[in-house]
Amino acid sequence: MTAEAYGDVALSDLEFDSLTELVNLGVSRAASNLALMVREEVVLTVPKVALLSRNDAIRTLGERAAKSLVAVHQTFEGAIVGRALLIFPEEKSLELVRSLVGSELSNEEIIELEQEALAETGNVILNSCLATIANSLQSSLKMSLPEVLRGESARFFSLPPPPAGGTTVMFIYIDFLVRRRNIEGYIAMMMDLPSLTALQSLLQDLIRRTGGPVSG
C-alpha cells in the first residue's frame, strides 16, 4: 500500500457519527471485558472523538500530559491499517493496576507487575475496540501483541510508521471509572489512519446496510 495524501478526506456528519458509535460500542465492550478481569464494575465512557493531524495530536497530548507516559502499543492490519496506542497518565495507571491485581500487594510488587498489567489491560481494551470496529465494518483485522512503551508524548507520534504510514490520527479520550474503588482517570487512544479513505468507504457500507439513505 502506498502512502496516500490525507487531511483532505473529510467524513460527513453521519459518517463521523457512525464512527463515534463504533468507538463507543468498542469501548463499552472493552468495559465488559475489563470488568471480568477486575471482577468489579468498570465504566468506560467516551467524551471525545477527534480526527487530527499528527502535529495537532502531539500538541493536544502535550497539553494534557507533558510528563512521561506509559502506553500500550498494537498494530492492526486488514482493510484499514494502523497502530493503536493506549496512553495511561502516570498516577491513574498504577491505581488501575492495583485494582486489577488486588490491593494486598505492596507498592513495589505493584510496580513490578505494572508492565504486565498494563500490557494486558491495554490489550483487552484495544482488542475490544478494534475487534468491534472490525466486526461492525465487516472487515477483518489482525492485531499484533501488545508492547509497553514509556516516554514523552512526542515520541509516541514519532515511532517509525508501520508499512503504510499516515498523518491522520483518531484521538479518543476514554474516561474510566472503577466504581467501587473510586478510581477515575482517562485513557487516550490514538489510531494512526493511513487509510482514512478506506475507513470512509467501510463506514459508508455500514450506513447503507443499516438504514440506507439518511432519515430524519
Binding site: 510496580i111 504486565e116 494486558e120 478494534l130 472487515s139 477483518s140 492485531m143 501483541l145 514509556r150
Partner: protein
C-alpha cells in the same frame, strides 16, 4: 524434505508449546513440547476443547482470548505475572512450569482457527524472584529495621509504604497509613504542601525540616523530616525519613533552661562576690580603723598617767603649799576625768560591739538633758572660746529616755561641734516639737563635712580628720555611740553640711511619748536643793578608797562609817543601821554579793539602798548584783555627785521592797 514433515519437525523441535485450534475451538495440533509439559499425548487431546482437556483449571482468560481471536482477529498475551497458574504444566524435573500464553488468530475472515503458544518463563521468573527476594530482603532489612520512620509517598501525596517504625512512632497501623494522604498526619495539614514542595522539587535531599506530627493517641510529637525523590522511569515517588526529635527538643529545652539558670546563677554569684568583696573591703577598713583606734587608745590612756604621777610627786613635796596642792589636785582630777572618760568610752565600744547597752528609761524633760549636756561640754566649748547659743522652746517637752545616755548623746554632739570649729566659732543648739517627735539641732560654723562623708561620720572608729581628733584627745567613737543610742530610743540622727569650711549641722529626732505626764522621779538638776542627810556605810577592802569616799560623802552632809571586809560591814551595819550601803564587790572574808544577801536578810536591811561598787560594768555583773539584792550598780571610779543624785532620787520615790 516433504512439506508435512518439515512442518511437523518444526512443531516438534521448537522450544515453545504449540496448540492449534480449529474454528470450532477443538484441538487440531499438539506439539511434543506440550506432550512433555502436560503429560498428555496428542491422541488424548485431539478433537477436544482446551476446557475439556484441562478440566477444573481456571482458564476463562484463555477462553476469552480464544473467542477474541476467532471472532475479532485479536491477539492476546497472558503473562504468568498476571495469571500465575493458567495451565497445569510441569517441567521435566517435575516442578511447576511457569508460562506465558499467547493467543493469536490464524488468517482468514472469519478465522480458520487460532494459535496458542505456551512460553516457558520458569527460569526467568525464578531468577527474577530470587533477585527480587534478595533485593527485598536487603530493602526490608534496611527499611523495616530502621529506627526512624520511613515513608514512600507518590506524586499525589498518598503514602504507599510505611515501615514498622512508622507504626511504632505514630501509633497508626500499616493499613491506617498506606493508601492515605500523608498530609493528614501533620499539624497543621496546610503546612504539608509547602514542606512537600520544597522537599520534592530538589534533586538533592534538602536540609531536614522540623515537622509536628499528630499521633494516633492525639499527642503531638516533633520529627525531623528529610526526603528525596526517586523515579521508576514513569512516575516519581518520594522517600521520606522522619526522626523523632521530641526528646531532643525536650533536652534542648532543658539545656536552654539550665543554661539560662546557670547564667542567672553566674550573675548571682558575681553579685555575691561583688557584695563579698565590698564587705571584705569594709571589714578590712573597719579593722584598720580599729587598729588605729587601739593604738590611739593606748596612747591616750598613757597621756594622763604622766601628769598624775607628777602630781603625786608634787603633792608629796608641796604638802604645806595649799595653793599648789590645790592646783595639783585639780589638775589630777582633770586627768583622772580624762582617763575615766576614755575607759568609759572603751567600755561603750565593747558594749556597742556586743550589743550590750542597756537603757534605763525614765520620763524626763528635754530641757534638763540638754542643760546637763551643756554643763558637760562646757570646758571644751569655753576652752575654744566658742559662743554657745541655746534655743529651746519655753514649754516643757517630756521625753521617756535614759537620761544619762541621752545627755551623753548631746554632750558628744556639742563636743564635736567644739572640736571641729576653729576658735571663736559659734555653736547653736535648738529644739522644736513637731508632730510626734522632737527635733534637736546642733549647728556649728566649723570645718564642715565633705559630702561623701556625711553618712560615714557615724561609723565606728571613723575620723574624718585624724590629726585634729587626736589633738583633742578623742577616739573617734563618739558619733557612732550617738547614732546607736539615738536609734535605741527609736530616733534618728543625721549629719548635714554644705561642704568643707561651711559648718555642720547634726539633727536628732526623738519620739515624744503620747502622754506628756511628768509623773515619776524627776531628773536632778545640778542646782538642786540640799539633799537630806543619810546614814551611809562604805565598805571596801581598799582602805584609802573607802576613807576618801566616806570623807567626800561626809562633806556633803551625810553621816558615814567605813568597813574593810564583808563581815565587818555586816557588824557595823547591825549597829549603825545605815540607810545607804556602798559595797565593793571584791572583798575578802565575805564578798559584796554575800554581804548584800546577809544585809537583806535583816529586817532593817530590806529597805536600805544597797549600791554595788565594782570595776566590772557588764550586763552579767549588773544582773548578778540585782540578783543578790543590790538596788544599784556603779562602776568605779565613783563620781560622788552621781551617788548623791542616786541617793536623792531613791529617797524621793518609792522603791522596790526586797523580799527577805
Amino acid at each position: 524434505m516433504p512439506q508435512v514433515d518439515l512442518e511437523q519437525s518444526i512443531l516438534d523441535g521448537i522450544a515453545v508449546g504449540l496448540i492449534v485450534l480449529a474454528a470450532d475451538k477443538t484441538i487440531a495440533r499438539w506439539n511434543t513440547w506440550m506432550v512433555a509439559a502436560s503429560n498428555r499425548s496428542f491422541g488424548a487431546v485431539e478433537g477436544k476443547t482446551i476446557a475439556e482437556v484441562f478440566q477444573g483449571a481456571r482458564i476463562d482468560a484463555v477462553e476469552r482470548a480464544i473467542d477474541f481471536a476467532l471472532t475479532g482477529g485479536a491477539s492476546t498475551l497472558l503473562t504468568n505475572a498476571m495469571h500465575p497458574e493458567l495451565l497445569p504444566l510441569s517441567t521435566l524435573a517435575g516442578q511447576p512450569l511457569l508460562h506465558d500464553v499467547v493467543i493469536s488468530p490464524l488468517p482468514g475472515a472469519p478465522s480458520s482457527g487460532c494459535l496458542l503458544q505456551i512460553i516457558d518463563v520458569t527460569e526467568a521468573t525464578r531468577r527474577e524472584r530470587f533477585l527480587r527476594d534478595r533485593q527485598n530482603a536487603r530493602y526490608y532489612a534496611l527499611v523495616e529495621s530502621a529506627p526512624d520512620v520511613i515513608l514512600n509517598v507518590d506524586s499525589e501525596g498518598v503514602i504507599r509504604l510505611a515501615n514498622a517504625a512508622a507504626s511504632r512512632h505514630f501509633g497508626y497501623s500499616a493499613e491506617e497509613l498506606v493508601g492515605h494522604k500523608a498530609a493528614q498526619f501533620f499539624e497543621p495539614e496546610s503546612a504539608w504542601p509547602d514542606i512537600w514542595r520544597s522537599v520534592a522539587t530538589s534533586s538533592v535531599a534538602e536540609a531536614p525540616v522540623e515537622v509536628p506530627v499528630r499521633l494516633k493517641d492525639g499527642g503531638l510529637r516533633h520529627f525531623e523530616l528529610s526526603a528525596a525523590p526517586w523515579t521508576d522511569g514513569t512516575r516519581t515517588f518520594t522517600t521520606a525519613i522522619l526522626r523523632d526529635i521530641e526528646n531532643r527538643r525536650a533536652a534542648e529545652a532543658v539545656l536552654r533552661e539550665s543554661e539560662r539558670q546557670s547564667r542567672a546563677n553566674e550573675r548571682a554569684m558575681a553579685e555575691l562576690n561583688e557584695a563579698l568583696r565590698e564587705s571584705t573591703d569594709q571589714l578590712r577598713a573597719m579593722d584598720r580603723r580599729k587598729n588605729e583606734f587601739l593604738a590611739t587608745l593606748a596612747h591616750e590612756l598613757r597621756n594622763p598617767l604622766a601628769p598624775l604621777r607628777n602630781g603625786l610627786q608634787l603633792l608629796k613635796i608641796a604638802k604645806d603649799d595649799v595653793a599648789l596642792s590645790e592646783r595639783t589636785r585639780h589638775m589630777m582630777d582633770v586627768q583622772v576625768g580624762h582617763m575615766v572618760r576614755l575607759i568609759d568610752d572603751l567600755l561603750d565600744v565593747s558594749r556597742i560591739s556586743n550589743d550590750r547597752i542597756a537603757l534605763t528609761k525614765e520620763v524626763t524633760s528635754l530641757d534638763r538633758i540638754i542643760r546637763q549636756a551643756v554643763v558637760t561640754s562646757n570646758p571644751l566649748i569655753h576652752g575654744q572660746q566658742h559662743t554657745l547659743t541655746i534655743d529651746l522652746p519655753p514649754h516643757e517637752i517630756a521625753l521617756e529616755v535614759d537620761a544619762v545616755r541621752m545627755t551623753q548623746v548631746f554632750a558628744n554632739l556639742l563636743n564635736n561641734a567644739a572640736k571641729y570649729t576653729p576658735a571663736h566659732g559659734s555653736i547653736t543648739i535648738t529644739a522644736e516639737e513637731r508632730d510626734d517627735s522632737v527635733i534637736v539641732r546642733v549647728i556649728d560654723n566649723g570645718i564642715g563635712i565633705p559630702r561623701e562623708s556625711l553618712r560615714q561620720v557615724f561609723e565606728m572608729f571613723m575620723q574624718v580628720d585624724q590629726s585634729l581628733e587626736r589633738a583633742q584627745g578623742g577616739l573617734g567613737i563618739g558619733l557612732s555611740l550617738v547614732k546607736r543610742l539615738v536609734e535605741m530610743h527609736g530616733g534618728t540622727v543625721e549629719a548635714n553640711s554644705r561642704g568643707p569650711g561651711m559648718g555642720s549641722e547634726f539633727v536628732v529626732r526623738l519620739p515624744v511619748p503620747k502622754r506628756s505626764v511628768m509623773a515619776g522621779p524627776a531628773g536632778e538638776p545640778s542646782a538642786a536643793p540640799a539633799p537630806m542627810a543619810q546614814r551611809i556605810l562604805v565598805a571596801d577592802d581598799n582602805k584609802d578608797a573607802a576613807a576618801t569616799l566616806a570623807l567626800l560623802l561626809k562633806l556633803l552632809g551625810h553621816e558615814t562609817r567605813t568597813a574593810n571586809d564583808g563581815i565587818e560591814a555586816v557588824e557595823i551595819a547591825c549597829q549603825f543601821r545605815p540607810e545607804v550601803v556602798l559595797l565593793d564587790i571584791g572583798m575578802p572574808r565575805l564578798n559584796g554579793y554575800d554581804t548584800a544577801r546577809r544585809l537583806r536578810q535583816e529586817t532593817w536591811g530590806r529597805d536600805l539602798l544597797l549600791v554595788a561598787l565594782t570595776g566590772w560594768g557588764q550586763e552579767a555583773d549588773r544582773l548578778k548584783s540585782s540578783g543578790a539584792g543590790f538596788d544599784l550598780h556603779l562602776v568605779k571610779p565613783i563620781n560622788v555627785a552621781e551617788i548623791q543624785r542616786l541617793i536623792v532620787r531613791s529617797r524621793s520615790s518609792p522603791r522596790t521592797r526586797h523580799p527577805a
